[in-house]
């Protein structure tokens, strides 16, 4: 007996591959992004404080999604990509 596979699907075309640039964690700008759930900001504040023991933190900035339940808006992703060499995402949940 032959059956159709209920999980079969064709792979969607993936996004264009990007080449990641090396990050200098001692000096480069870093985005700290919260998913807007409770405690994500607190976690990131701890990360920023710990980084401060090793490097300047004036170019380490906090950002947040405007809704925990929805994807990050395109504008936020573009802003982070344009202005930062690295991003750390905290998932409070």
């Amino acid at each position: 007996m032959r059956i159709f596979n209920p999980s079969f699907g064709m792979a969607a075309a993936g996004p264009a591959k990007v080449t990641l640039q090396p990050v200098n964690w001692a000096t480069d700008a870093i985005a700290l992004i919260s998913n807007s759930k409770p405690n994500a900001r607190e976690l990131l504040e701890g990360v920023r404080a710990m980084l401060g023991a090793h490097r300047p933190v004036d170019n380490i900035h906090f950002h947040a999604k405007n809704s925990a339940s929805q994807p990050a808006p395109k504008e936020l992703i573009e802003k982070v990509a344009k202005n930062y060499k690295a991003a750390l995402l905290a998932l409070g949940d």
Partner: protein
């Protein structure tokens, strides 16, 4: 030989139904209840019912695969659908694929949401969909299997496997199936799909990522004003997602309550306005910690009150059910929309 996940057609030899169910469980295809076998012949009958709908399907998140009609039909067969239900199921799938529905978020969340499927228009009676007594409950093949088929598609095509991609803290019985019809015949206002701009003769599927129905019991009120006080009290919930993740919600009014509201001059719009005003949550019912979170994420109170949506239009209203003094409130995930799809026939 291809991995099973990459094979569109699988030869399972001479398995009987019990053996197939064991096999399907091993593959992760089951919602836990027995499945029908998606043979090539059965799947072909289902595919025939949607031949007039040639619009391609987008990649289905979170798994991001483009489904074939045969794979979708296999899920409807397994759910126990009749072939003529399949256009309703595919319309429901198109609804949850509306980008504003936020399928990835609604499947991956820790919230308990499940896709609510409401059917409007002439197809309700053609398929014997329950719109009246016990419409959210058991007893009709169409209600039971249309909702189940969508759930199986989300499991098998979208990849929403419990404990893996589906991270719901407690889940919800509505994840097995949640499909009902509007009671247009006892709705004193316009049916929901007509409110949304469709013709009364159109058959339409409406989906929303919602919780199960919360009962709104009012045997005592004899006025529309009294009923709305009860409804609003049931909706005013500091534990609802929509208190901070603003989004839509449904109030499904039972026919007897609807008749009272209509007699007293209420319209869909005036019901919305009243429920919006009366269902606000007083800050004394919100914890200090939560209030800080809401304020820092842009959900500031209006004076001493938090609203349960963005504006009155977030409250969607229609009529379903049978005799009795009950209505229902169905809150949503929050970051989602109410998507309507005309059934292609």
């Amino acid at each position: 030989m291809k991995d099973i996940a990459e094979q569109e057609v699988i030869d399972i030899g001479d398995m009987d139904v019990e053996a197939f169910n064991e096999y399907a469980n091993e593959q992760g295809w089951s919602d836990g209840m027995p499945l029908f076998v998606p043979t090539e012949a059965k799947v072909a009958k289902f595919v025939e019912t949607v031949r007039g709908d040639n619009r391609p399907y987008p990649p289905v998140p979170p798994r991001q695969v483009v489904p074939t009609l045969q794979a979708l039909a296999a899920n409807a067969v397994m759910a126990g659908c009749k072939p003529e239900y399949f256009p309703v199921v595919t319309a429901a799938l198109r609804g949850v694929l509306d980008p504003e529905y936020n399928l990835h978020g609604t499947l991956a969340t820790t919230h308990s949401c499940a896709p609510m499927v409401m059917v409007s228009g002439p197809i309700r009676h053609e398929l014997n969909i329950n719109c009246g007594t016990n419409c959210f409950g058991q007893g009709r093949q169409a209600n039971a299997t249309i909702g189940r088929a969508l759930g199986l598609m989300l499991l098998n095509v979208a990849g929403a496997k419990p404990g893996e991609m589906d991270r719901s803290t407690q889940g919800n019985p509505a994840k097995f199936t949640f499909c009902f019809g509007e009671n247009e015949e006892e709705n004193p206002w316009a049916p929901y799909h007509v409110q949304r701009g469709f013709a009364p003769t159109d058959s339409v599927v409406t989906v929303m990522s919602g919780e199960g129905p919360h009962n709104l019991n009012d045997h005592g009120s004899t006025t529309g004003d009294g009923l709305l006080t009860t409804f609003a009290g049931g909706m005013s919930n500091p534990g609802s997602n929509t208190i901070y993740g603003k989004g839509p919600m449904f109030v499904i009014i039972g026919p007897e309550h609807a008749a009272t509201l209509k007699r007293d001059g209420f319209t869909i719009d005036s019901i919305r306005e009243e429920l919006w005003k009366r269902s606000r949550v007083h800050l004394s019912r919100v914890s200090k910690e939560n209030l800080v979170t809401y304020e820092t994420t842009g959900h500031k109170p209006d004076g001493d009150w938090l609203s349960i949506g963005r504006d009155p239009k977030d409250i969607h209203i229609t009529v379903a059910g049978g005799a009795g003094k009950h209505s229902a409130f169905i809150p949503s995930f929050g970051g989602t929309t109410v998507a309507c799809t005309r059934i292609a026939r």
